[in-house]
């Protein structure tokens, strides 16, 4: 691309007039400013705002503590520690997101293999203290499944957890009998 470095002397005047013309035109448009917070702008349902952790259709925590959201986060604002219950079901022992760093890019939601982490259209997260922007698991975990109503990771996974034995997941054969010698 050729960058223009020299301008004719009258360019200053035409530029000024053009700018004035644009401003003049805007006199006849509807203003975009609204009176927040009395008035609120409509947000699209897929707008990316405050992050939540959702539950599966059975009401259990969806997050399995796989750390994929934490590693994909470009600003590194997610931290968690995985643990498991006595039946082998993994869940996060603690989970925190530092919303003073989060850029709402939605990568975590894309990376999450269980649809646990989701961005919601809520953007009203002002706080007086910065430390209050660090959300912990109690702040993040909601009671519903969010945008994905049906998905339950453990119904697909091969691991056994309380209430689901080997071979009971979706599209699984019952566990093989290894003593069976039939061809």
């Amino acid at each position: 691309m050729k960058v223009r470095t020299h301008y004719p002397p009258w360019a200053a005047v035409t530029g000024l007039l053009r700018a004035m013309w644009i401003i003049f035109k805007y006199q006849f448009r509807r203003p975009v400013t609204i009176q927040y917070p009395e008035q609120r702008a409509p947000v699209a349902p897929r707008n990316r705002g405050r992050i939540v952790l959702t539950r599966d259709p059975d009401g259990e925590e969806r997050c399995v503590g796989c750390y994929l959201c934490a590693v994909v986060c470009p600003v590194d604002c997610i931290a968690l520690q995985a643990t498991e219950d006595e039946h082998g079901r993994r869940y996060p022992e603690w989970f925190q997101i530092n919303f003073s760093r989060c850029i709402y890019c939605g990568f975590c939601e894309e990376a999450c293999p269980t649809y646990a982490i989701q961005l919601t259209p809520d953007y009203e997260m002002g706080e007086h203290q910065r430390s209050h922007l660090i959300y912990h698991k109690d702040d993040l975990l909601i009671d519903g499944p969010g945008k994905r109503h049906q998905y339950n990771f453990y119904r697909h996974a091969g691991v056994e957890i309380g209430g689901k034995d080997k071979g009971e997941a979706i599209a699984e054969e019952p566990a093989v009998d290894i003593r069976d010698l039939l061809p």
Partner: protein
């Protein structure tokens, strides 16, 4: 060197390699599963398919397995060829048909070779819509978790477990697509090398059960090269930490020490670092028990006041430790002076170690590396139970036996696992082991003579004698040295000799004490006569080194001040007037000398809790606080190492073992974490170690040279990435730094020996104590009509080592305290197999009691009783002792 054509480009490859190795040598991406650099090719997985052309005119070629195709001159293959690529993609697709949807909850995820290979072959979409085959898992003990659904039938596990390391209880079962890798019945895996399954299995079938409890992904682990501190072999480890706790230990490849392997004690023994019974705050146990009633500053001021006064009167002494670094011991030595320094090794063991170290330094024999041992053809193990004393030596012996057909002859109290593949085993008490050794030496001198063991040793190309220190018997060592000497005289070559030592720095602290300071017994004598009024003890529990516990406790109580630096609460720290928390190996940097005389550096992995500092720096602060700052003008560990180098020529070169302070690789310091490390801005700061050295928590990725921090390269996230960091697969690492050997080395055994053994070299303690005289193990009482038995201790891989047994997983595997007796002896004593007794053991100079389960063993000599070494209940045992037994049954 043959030149082969891969995808039309010529590559030079080493002699005797196959196409897969050649491709990996040249950093080409050829996927594989079943080939392993140490275990070779079997051609089972069919993933390494390439197009193989007959000659330059062949246009069609045929599919061949890279790992089964020799890379000979002119071999022409193509990796990047549509049919071969499609074949490899299909192999993965077939494997994936049954693969569970587990990655998010799979501990292999992020370092999974199967994930890497799936991405590499380009299989991205599941087309199969049928049902998946499933398996039930087995309980495999507290160390290994089993998740059989994830298996891809590469057979690496059984090849390692059975063929490579000699295990029995893992196998492959069932037929057709039901093949199953596991045990006949559920139960803990018996092999002491079972932890290697975690790394050998390319999938998440076998995973580390201790890691599961506090799981973090590989990319989140803060890692640094470390050294295993749980026996004398000094295996190289890669310790991973996260949020201030150690999460796991993995193998760090060292071409001359441990290769790809670790034993289970080394891999799972880390849990003591996170244990609850750590000493974490300065405290005053003698006055306040375990209450923290005084501020850290007060404890420090009081301790310094006591030390300052006694330093002036000369009544100060210090006890170092064979489990502490050279630097920590050297700092203590600087504090009190060489004459008032005690190594902290009990005299019976110290005699052996001193004799061995000085003979080795003088070049009387060559101490082989583990790799060299694998090439020996006749190995005589005299008085050592290697499985339990130095586990990886057991593996080296098995390799020598399995790969090279070596004949292994054992003479000892217990055969351990080595007995399973040994050519002969003769059981005896320490006295008869020594006698047997002398007979072999005599046989060798008499040209083989009648003695069968002497005859095979005489005929061997590369004979090796190994002994151990567990019997603490100087006669056994002398007998071994006599055999070595006889071999030298006979063959005119430099004989090979190895000795296992019990702790990570036993040889180091022995060589550091070159001016022969005090023995432990003379320390106690001196306390009793009031010649020592303040004692500083670093990382040592004197109750593990002294048999007369009552006398020791009285002596320690008499001290005006007992200052203890340690990371665990021990019997000694509980009697301290002032106890200060010390850093463990992963929490500090330092230098250790292993049993083959190799100096190695371990680097700090994580920052310890507040108030916890390495012993050397605490000691430096003491020296400065008593007004002698110029004696310990050390800012960093390197300064201490440099001071050691300057004063002890034996350790020359120790400062070169790690990159110097301020070292940069491509303008960045070496990072302890990779660039994927997550959560940096979640307000939990990455726990940066505060001690400045060449490693930092920020900065570039680990180098591909001296200190591989956590091997991974693009496309290779699993530990198989190690091949990318080498000049050739299974060769040394690029910029390899396998440590520095301080014994005269002589690799091939074909050179004339420089000097015969000089039995007069063994230096005696400068201030001998009555207790220092070796106790005779020669039969004081002919067995039969007397109640006196020779009490010997047997090392236990899980349980005898003071740090590793504090972790819950290994504690679960440690056998209960036992007393093993010959059936006749048990009958005389009126005890029954399997029952627990309270025993009184009455020796000539001291007595003690013990609660133990009786085990009857008819392979045992009938004048011997065996107890486990180093247990809390048996730690008084220092040397074979004739004792009278009295027993009372304990109600269950």
């Amino acid at each position: 060197m043959p030149t082969i054509l891969i995808d039309g480009n010529p590559y030079e490859v080493a002699e005797g390699r196959n196409v897969l190795q050649a491709a990996l040598d040249h950093k080409l991406d050829l996927p594989y599963f079943c080939w392993h650099p140490a275990m070779g090719s079997v051609g089972a997985c069919r993933l390494c398919a390439v197009k193989h052309y007959r000659d330059e005119n062949d246009e069609h070629g045929r599919l061949a397995m890279g790992c089964m195709t020799p890379a000979t001159e002119g071999t022409r293959v193509a990796i990047d060829e549509p049919e071969a690529a499609q074949f490899r993609r299909s192999v993965i697709e077939w494997l994936m048909i049954n693969h569970p949807h587990d990655c998010p909850v799979c501990d292999e995820g992020g370092e999974c070779h199967l994930q890497d290979m799936t991405v590499m072959t380009g299989h991205a979409h599941r087309r199969y819509r049928g049902r998946k085959r499933t398996y039930r898992n087995q309980y495999l003990g507290p160390l290994i978790h089993h998740e059989m659904n994830r298996c891809i039938q590469c057979y690496r596990c059984v090849r390692f477990y059975v063929d490579h390391s000699g295990g029995h209880d893992l196998g492959v079962f069932a037929s057709r697509d039901r093949v199953y890798f596991g045990r006949v019945e559920e139960g803990a895996l018996e092999s002491p090398f079972s932890g290697n399954l975690v790394e050998v299995c390319p999938t998440g079938v076998f995973t580390d059960k201790t890691y599961r409890r506090h799981y973090a992904r590989k990319w989140d682990l803060q890692s640094a090269p470390s050294i295993c501190g749980h026996c004398g072999l000094g295996c190289n480890t890669l310790v991973g930490a996260r949020y201030g706790s150690v999460r796991r230990v993995a193998n760090r490849y060292n071409s001359e020490v441990n290769g790809y392997w670790l034993c289970d004690r080394g891999r799972f023994g880390y849990e003591h670092v996170n244990a609850d019974d750590r000493l974490l705050k300065p405290q005053t146990p003698r006055r306040d028990g375990d209450e923290l009633s005084v501020s850290a500053g007060r404890v420090w001021d009081e301790a310094i006041a006591a030390i300052r006064v006694t330093a002036a009167t000369g009544k100060l002494a210090a006890v170092g430790s064979p489990r502490a670094s050279l630097e920590s011991n050297f700092a203590l030595l600087t504090l009190v002076g060489a004459e008032r320094f005690c190594t902290g090794i009990a005299e019976p063991e110290r005699r052996l170690v001193g004799r061995f170290a000085h003979a080795a330094r003088a070049g009387a024999f060559h101490v082989p590396t583990l790799q060299e041992i694998e090439g020996c053809d006749v190995i005589l193990v005299l008085g050592a139970d290697l499985t339990h004393e130095a586990p990886l030596l057991d593996l080296a012996l098995f390799r020598a036996h399995a790969a090279a057909g070596a004949a292994i002859h054992l003479v000892g109290l217990r055969a351990g696992r080595v007995g399973e593949f040994a050519a002969s085993f003769e059981s005896g008490d320490p006295g008869s082991i020594a006698t047997r050794g002398r007979a072999v030496a005599a046989g060798l001198r008499a040209d083989g003579g009648e003695d069968p063991v002497a005859a095979v040793l005489a005929a061997a190309h590369c004979p090796l004698v190994i002994t151990g220190t567990q019997h603490r018997d100087a006669e056994v060592l002398e007998a071994s040295l006599a055999i070595v000497e006889a071999l030298r005289a006979r063959n005119g070559t430099h004989p090979w000799f190895a000795m296992s030592v019990s702790e990570a720095n036993t040889l180091g602290v022995e060589l550091l004490d070159d001016r022969r300071g005090m023995s432990l017994a003379s320390v106690i004598d001196a306390i009793e006569v009031g010649d020592i009024s303040v004692l500083v003890v670093a990382e040592n529990d004197l109750f593990e080194r002294c048999e007369d516990h009552r006398r020791l406790a009285d002596a320690l109580q008499r001290l005006d001040a007992l200052v203890v630096l340690d990371h665990m609460v021990t019997a000694t720290s509980s009697l301290a007037t002032h106890a200060f928390p010390a850093a463990t190996i992963p929490e500090s940097s330092g230098t250790l000398v292993n049993s083959e005389g190799r100096i190695q550096r371990f680097c700090q992995v994580l920052r310890p809790a507040e108030d916890v500092v390495p012993s050397w720096s605490a000691t430096r602060d003491i020296i400065a606080a008593i007004g002698r700052a110029e004696d310990a003008d050390w800012q960093h560990l390197e300064d201490v190492t440099a001071a050691i180098e300057a004063s002890h020529p034996a350790f020359d070169g120790a400062t070169k073992l790690a990159p110097a302070l301020g070292f940069q690789l491509e303008h960045q310091p070496i990072s302890r974490v990779g660039h994927r490390y997550s959560g940096r801005n979640a307000t939990i700061r990455p726990d940066a170690p505060d001690e400045p050295d060449a490693l930092t928590e920020v900065g570039g990725l680990g180098p591909d040279g001296a200190l591989p921090v956590a091997p991974r390269t693009p496309g290779w996230n699993s530990n198989e990435a190690i091949n990318r960091f080498r000049i050739e697969v299974d060769g040394p690492l690029r910029g390899d730094n396998p440590g520095l050997r301080i014994f005269a080395t002589n690799g091939n055994g074909a050179h004339p020996a420089p000097s015969p053994l000089d039995p007069g070299r063994s230096p005696a303690a400068a201030t001998p104590s009555a207790l220092d005289t070796p106790r005779s193990t020669a039969a004081a009482t002919p067995s039969g009509d007397d109640d006196t038995v020779l009490v010997c201790a047997a090392a236990e891989i899980f349980g005898s080592e003071s740090m590793s047994r504090r972790g819950p997983a290994l504690a679960e595997l440690a056998p209960d305290t036992y007393l093993r007796l010959h059936p006749k002896r048990a009958e005389r004593l009126g005890v029954v197999e399997g029952r627990a007794y309270r025993l009184r053991l009455i020796g000539e100079t001291f007595e003690t009691s013990l609660e133990a389960v009786v085990k009857v063993d008819d392979e045992l000599p009938d004048n011997v009783a065996v107890i486990p070494a180093g247990y809390a209940e048996t730690r008084w045992w220092q040397q074979p002792t004739w004792m009278r037994l009295e027993s009372v049954e304990v109600e269950p």
